[in-house]
């Protein structure tokens, strides 16, 4: 897509839905919106059926604000809760089969680089811990080994939320779930370590407790994936249903887990760091 493709042919405004007109006229296009402006611009995310108070919903909402160029972005997801919201954005969404998101993203990104030589197109995979660490594990790892230039965001609610509470590789040892009634017997997978071993250019781990940080991490990850190599964000996005967290306590839980075992962490390669510095310097020079 591009913003030009979205604009309404003069005279046709009255036939378009309010939401569409608002998006074109008051959406986040042309200039990166700040988290502090939320509530004053039309967001790319619409209404959707994810549960009330779901931390994953909040994280997705903030991710959309962080995207440096939503009009030139394609999202890839799969079965799991997140796609219930991702499909309700004004960003093209590809529903990969459960397990093949990173294979689809690899081919798509390569194709876009051939087709649009003068315009960077960003590809962002957003899927659950089950989708990426279990069933999609092989495709994720191989996309990293091949240094494919797109961003992978794991919505880590530490459970298969959409199918009623099975344990995933990312569930903590001992966690009691509907479908893990004796508690999980194995450790949480170290996806951050695996990303590091496979040479991912930028890795971040975080929770949604700091909205500005979420948007800034997403922006960095997408920019680095454009020029340097694969990027990975692992986000704690609790499932309040399967972990029985009362919704008013969802952010208290995120803060607690963050301080215990999910602290903010960034691992960035020298090349990626130099690239970020170069875009910051060219931005300052323009001013």
């Amino acid at each position: 897509m591009s913003f030009k493709n979205m604009t309404i042919t003069p005279g046709w405004e009255k036939y378009m839905t309010k939401e569409y007109v608002d998006l074109v006229e008051r959406g986040p296009y042309g200039k990166q919106k700040k988290v502090s402006e939320m509530g004053s611009f039309k967001e790319v995310l619409e209404e959707h059926p994810m549960c009330a108070g779901c931390a994953m919903t909040l994280f997705i909402r903030l991710t959309m604000v962080g995207l440096p160029n939503p009009e030139h972005t394609i999202l890839i997801g799969t079965a799991g809760c997140g796609r219930l919201a991702l499909t309700q954005t004004s960003i093209p969404f590809i529903y990969g089969n459960y397990g093949d998101t990173n294979a689809v993203a690899s081919g798509l990104k390569r194709g876009l680089e051939v087709r649009f030589k003068d315009q960077a197109k960003d590809v962002v995979v957003m899927a659950g811990d089950g989708g990426l660490a279990d069933i999609g594990f092989s495709a994720v790892m191989h996309s990293w080994f091949r240094k494919e230039r797109f961003t992978t965001i794991m919505l880590d609610n530490e459970v298969y939320g959409n199918t009623g509470g099975q344990e995933s590789g990312m569930t903590e040892r001992g966690a009691l779930l509907k479908m893990a009634p004796k508690g999980k017997l194995f450790d949480k997978m170290d996806m951050i370590g695996l990303a590091q071993t496979s040479g991912v250019a930028y890795i971040a781990r975080l929770t949604p407790t700091n909205p500005t940080r979420v948007a800034s991490v997403v922006r960095k990850a997408v920019m680095i994936a454009r020029e340097v190599g694969p990027t990975f964000i692992q986000a704690y996005t609790s499932c309040n249903i399967e972990y029985a967290i009362p919704t008013p306590k969802v952010l208290d839980d995120a803060r607690e887990i963050e301080s215990k075992r999910y602290g903010f962490m960034e691992i960035i390669s020298d090349e990626a760091k130099a690239y970020l510095e170069s875009i910051d310097t060219s931005k300052k020079a323009k001013k």
């Binding site: 502090s36 779901c54 919903t57 969802v250 952010l251």
Partner: protein, 94 residues
């Protein structure tokens, strides 16, 4: 009948803190009127999770948000009816 978030605009407008707009999980649900310097809720989008109440009470420490039965609200703002038109807000919304 169900509860939705309601913002006391007299309290909110003294602060211009905007924190709840960033923490509500739902998009364009807590809106911000720059002219009147207050946040307000699009009730048709509020899922009643109460996250904003904790943000305003504990993080912002302003205590401007309460959960109210939707039937007890006299005037309501619905985004699906009004559209996203900040130029028309200017203190007129409930």
């Amino acid at each position: 009948m169900y509860l939705v978030a309601h913002i006391d605009q007299a309290i909110c407008s003294e602060t211009a803190c905007r924190l709840c707009t960033q923490y509500c999980p739902e998009a364009n649900t807590i809106l911000y009127d720059n002219a009147a310097k207050t946040a307000f809720v699009a009730v048709d989008r509020c899922k009643g999770c109460e996250i904003c109440v904790g943000i305003c009470d504990d993080l912002a420490k302003h205590h401007a948000i309460k959960m109210i039965m939707i039937t007890d609200l006299k005037d309501t703002f619905e985004l699906s009816k009004e559209g996203f038109r900040p130029e028309s807000w200017t203190g007129k919304h409930p």
